[in-house]
């Protein structure tokens, strides 16, 4: 125990050294200070912090990272990482820095403002500052606060009212370094009234060194607006730590839908906080993790119903092979004022192996009396009778198992904006079953 504390203190001191010096840029300096202060208030999570109970933080704390290099060859191959659906609507980030000249936004209406926090300062400075200040005050996750504290440069996307963006906007995150790096990208999206948009974040590593990605995406969704958000961390190198926080605030009649696909890594943790603040708003969070080897994937959800007549759905599925480890912890919080709430939560897990571990903690806290809510978790293995049935229809054992795994994935796969074949989402070749 003492040893762990030493590791925590060492890592904290290490993080301090990663703090950016003041740049005399009022907005960025100010935000970093606010983020760092909030992080110190919340404190570096220890094993005792409930939200990180299942995460082996020690494996992060005993590493050391540097800030990513700024000067590097820009002729990196990235075109293949762009999905067909987003080939004229992608934003390229290298080591957390946005490169407009390497991005293609020709399919995005020109009325949409896409800029770094730096360049947004002139037109959106006070708006951005107020919105982030509010968001960071309410932040309960230390790493999401740390992200702002160690902000390199953020991205701000402003979608004007009634604007409809058809193709998904892919945020291609490319990482490149010769030494272990810590990167803290942050994206704020403001979706104006009646607007419609779809975002996708994908992560790609042209490096085999240890990386620590501390990512935050923050959405403000105005009345009657609709935002889809897709997150993908497929086929990552094994030695990555990715902590990815999503924050969303939903106004009246708005709609927010998340789909997440992952194969895990050393640790990938998705943290969601969704606030339904306007009547009749709707949020749907969905995730699918296919894990093998010793990969880990964790999902942590806080769904807060602040207003009446809102709906929220959560569906998280995990398929675990080998020695992999996953956890799901989700809380639905319904305030007293939020009558006529409908809130559902389901975590389904398929264990393909005796050595894999899943931890599931669905959670409801309801203070309103007229609420429809349910939560549940299932943990199971492939059904022997289903396998037998398929075999009698000519499927060999491994193709029968694969078909059943595929059927388990189908519900989530059907929601993704990019089309994936079943083989593409597999952590290894199609033969995943021992």
């Amino acid at each position: 125990m003492v040893y762990t504390e030493i590791e925590e203190n060492t890592f904290l001191a290490h993080l301090q050294t990663l703090q950016k010096p003041k740049e005399l840029n009022h907005l960025l300096d100010d935000l970093r200070q606010k983020g760092w202060n909030r992080f110190l208030e919340l404190g570096l999570p220890s094993k005792k912090v409930e939200a990180y109970r299942y995460v082996k933080l020690r494996n992060l704390y005993n590493k050391s990272y540097s800030l990513p290099p700024i000067n590097f060859q820009k002729n990196l191959q990235y075109k293949d990482l762009v999905s067909e659906e987003s080939k004229h609507s992608y934003l390229l980030f290298i080591n957390g820095i946005f490169y407009p000249e390497l991005s293609d936004t020709t399919a995005i209406p020109t009325s949409v403002a896409i800029s770094t926090f730096n360049t947004a300062e002139d037109s959106f400075g006070s708006f951005l500052k107020n919105s982030i200040t509010k968001s960071i005050k309410e932040e309960q996750d230390a790493f999401a606060a740390l992200n702002l504290g160690q902000l390199q440069e953020g991205l701000f996307v402003y979608i004007p009212p009634k604007c409809v963006i058809l193709p998904p906007i892919q945020i291609v995150n490319l990482y490149y370094a010769d030494f272990p790096i810590a990167v803290s990208p942050r994206i704020h999206v403001f979706a104006g009234k009646l607007s419609q948009s779809s975002f996708a974040t994908t992560h790609h590593f042209c490096t085999s060194v240890d990386t620590f990605i501390n990512f935050v995406t923050d959405f403000t969704i105005e009345e009657d607006a609709k935002v889809d958000f897709f997150q993908s961390t497929l086929n990552q190198p094994f030695n990555n730590w990715i902590l990815d926080a999503t924050r969303a605030q939903l106004k009246r009649n708005s709609c927010f839908k998340v789909v997440c696909l992952t194969n895990g890594s050393s640790t990938i943790r998705y943290d969601y906080k969704v606030s339904l603040t306007g009547e009749n708003s709707e949020a749907s969070l969905n995730g699918l993790a296919l894990l093998n080897k010793a990969n880990e994937s964790h999902s942590h959800v806080l769904m807060i119903h602040h207003a009446p007549h809102c709906r929220s759905m959560q569906l998280f599925k995990n398929i675990l092979n080998d020695n992999s480890h996953a956890s799901f912890e989700g809380k639905i919080f319904v305030h007293q004022i939020a009558q006529k709430t409908e809130a559902y939560q389901l975590n389904q897990n398929l264990l393909l192996n005796d050595h894999a571990t899943i931890e599931s903690k669905p959670n409801l806290e309801i203070f309103a009396d007229d609420v429809k809510a349910s939560h549940g978790a299932t943990i199971g293995q492939l059904d022997k009778e289903q396998i037998f049935y398929l075999q009698t229809r000519g499927f060999n054992l491994s193709s029968a198992k694969n078909l059943l795994i595929k059927s388990f994935c189908e519900e989530i796969l059907a929601m993704t904006p990019f089309k994936y074949s079943f083989d593409e989402i597999q952590p290894t070749a199609p033969e995943v079953v021992n």
Binding site: T392, N396, A400, S407, E411
Partner: protein, 252 residues
């Protein structure tokens, strides 16, 4: 075509089949009747290759091969088909894709060219028309949300597509009302041909009003205790199984 000799089988150490004998030739329909717990469904599962049962004695010969060591899929490939009493539901797997994959797995095992989705659509179309199955069947997931009757019709459709040499229908009539049963029976009659051997497992005589068996066997306590022609079923309908069970016990 199939010869089952002195078959003994158990599950978790509990004997279920105790010296079962049966020979079925191509073009024949054999009905196996018997009280609950006689081992009828166990027999069907063993013929299809269910892994939970252990064969302790006896042989099963099919087209000159001893099939006891064969996997369920290998048995399907050489022409054994079983219609399940409770067909499983598999959400997320489209019915047509499943049927095509199944059809092609047999083609492949026989060293024949697999069919394209377009070719399969035509084959399926014809079979569905024959069996009077509605087109919306195709867009649904495998047995998901199907009524009892729909599931059984899907089983018979699979049988028609896979064109087996031996079909074992396990309680195909259970859970069906009289109209659904007539439709399923009509489907079976439609598929029946002189190259097919059919084993009908049923608890009640009523299915045999619609599918005429050549032979009726009564199974009690893991073996056949009485065999006869179709009229035996009528006798059973009248007298129940008790008189046969008494006879068996006297034998013991």
């Amino acid at each position: 075509m199939i010869e089952i000799k002195n078959l003994h089988a158990e599950i978790s150490g509990k004997p279920i089949l105790k010296g079962f004998n049966l020979t079925v030739a191509a073009g024949e329909i054999h009905a196996i009747m018997g009280p609950n717990g006689a081992g009828k469904s166990t027999l069907a599962k063993i013929l299809a290759g269910h892994p939970s049962y252990e064969i302790t004695e006896g042989e099963i010969w099919f087209k000159g091969q001893n099939i006891l060591e064969m996997e369920p899929d290998e048995r399907a490939h050489i022409g054994i088909f079983m219609s399940f009493q409770y067909p499983v539901e598999i959400p997320g797997v489209n019915n047509v894709e499943f049927l095509r994959a199944s059809y092609n797995s047999l083609k492949k095992a026989r060293g024949e060219q697999e069919v394209t989705p377009e070719e399969f659509a035509l084959i399926l179309e014809e079979k569905m028309k024959q069996m009077e199955i509605k087109p919306e069947f195709k867009s649904r997931n495998l047995n998901e949300g199907f009524s009892g009757g729909e599931k059984k019709r899907n089983e018979i459709l699979q049988m028609a597509l896979l064109n087996p040499s031996l079909a074992i229908l396990d309680e195909t009539d259970s859970g069906l009302d009289i109209d659904a049963m007539k439709i399923v029976a009509q489907g079976v009659n439609c598929v029946m041909n002189s190259d097919l051997g059919l084993i009908l497992i049923t608890h009640y005589q009523r299915l045999l009003d619609y599918i005429k068996p050549h032979y009726v066997h009564v199974m009690v306590d893991g073996k056949i205790v009485q065999s006869g022609d179709a009229s035996l079923a009528l006798t059973l309908e009248e007298r129940g199984y008790d008189w046969l069970m008494q006879t068996t016990h006297e034998d013991v």
